[in-house]
Symmetry: C2
Subunit: 222 residues, 2 copies
């Protein structure tokens, strides 16, 4: 009679790379945040502003995921931060292997924080662990306040949620977005989620986001 | 010696259902448009307004695809149009089998036009044929004018493209969206694509979209 050892969990190729990335980041005490949203919610603009505003306090590098083009990495590099562009050629999410290869090409030891800007997609990226410290969901008010209810997975899994483009709510335009409804729906899925209503364009609300980033980076340094 | 017949293409399960749907729609001379966009581009608002404005001219039914909730089908039913909600429970696109089952539950013989509102996702739905007459890409100006370049597949495959929320460009808010750039990038991928800049909220530009729908429905009646 043969015995099958079921004690060891067999990991998928993606999980194996995610574990490698997680070990590397933990050993080196680096914070790594995986930003997930629909296309056009403002992830790259949030990153360029965050990098510039925090440049004397936190050293930031970026891994850019896009189906095509180098547009986003070029926008990041204009801030002088190091950026690695990954083109997925049609795939709707980044894989842990792609992130592993990008981490090898970033000057990690010089950095405090690595942002992964995932492919613009509110669905698929939430199913693929990359070895990140935490996921950050981004939602712009132009997308509507029903998105946490309709696309629950990413809001359930994220440590923080940025509600971007709140400047549009004050410009006298007709945008039906109830911030309290979006917050309540996200908290139904994820009681402890941190929520920051911001405008990456005007700067409103960014102080709270920056304080949170500084606290999270500091936790790892202790 | 055996011969393998390679003359017959083996279809995937999805392709088989897509073919069934296409045959059904062609036999019954019904126009079926598969609307694809990111979450929050305004697909449901475009549909509710189109249904109401054209109610005396075109009989419309809707198949609603969402990961969770019946929110969108309820919005459609408020216009009195028949709507079937499909919940994909996590999947990032509708399948042809799901559409086949929805078609069985719609009063097709009473309709001229069936809209399929796919799951909000600019990537995955473009890879799954549903047997539709044509795909329609929707992009809102709040998402940025670089989306045809960054997410080319759906713009390459669509017969028409709606650029929605153009009212936001005129309200004195800071939105960087160059309609001519978006048009030029879409036409680089798809020379013949019809492009309609619209606001489903104010009604601007909808006349051109309605004329196009009427022409497409009429073609099938001949």
């Amino acid at each position: 009679m043969y015995k099958v050892n079921v004690g060891k969990k067999i990991l998928s190729a993606n999980e194996e790379y995610a574990l490698k990335n997680s070990q590397l980041l933990t050993e080196q005490k680096k914070l790594c945040l995986n930003m997930i949203s629909s296309p056009g919610s403002g992830k790259t603009t949030i990153l360029t502003r965050t990098i510039s505003d925090l440049k004397d306090k936190i050293k930031i590098g970026v891994i850019e995921g896009d189906i095509q083009t180098e547009i986003d990495a070029e926008r990041i590099r204009a801030t002088k931060a190091p950026a690695i562009q990954i083109n997925t050629d049609g795939a709707c999410h980044l894989s842990a292997a792609q992130v592993n290869s990008a981490l090898e090409n970033l000057p990690i030891s010089d950095l405090d924080l690595i942002f992964i800007e995932n492919v613009g997609n509110l669905v698929c990226p939430s199913a693929f662990e990359l070895g990140e410290s935490a996921k950050i969901a981004v939602l712009s008010v132009a997308e509507g306040d029903d998105k946490p209810a309709k696309y629950p997975s990413i809001f359930a899994k994220s440590k923080a949620m940025l509600i971007n483009k709140i400047d549009l709510l004050k410009a006298g335009v007709q945008i039906d977005f109830d911030i309290e409804r979006a917050k309540a729906d996200a908290r139904k899925l994820n009681k402890g989620i941190e929520i920051f209503p911001i405008s990456a364009k005007t700067g409103e609300g960014l102080a709270g986001w920056y304080d949170w980033l500084k606290r999270e980076v500091k936790k790892l340094r202790l």
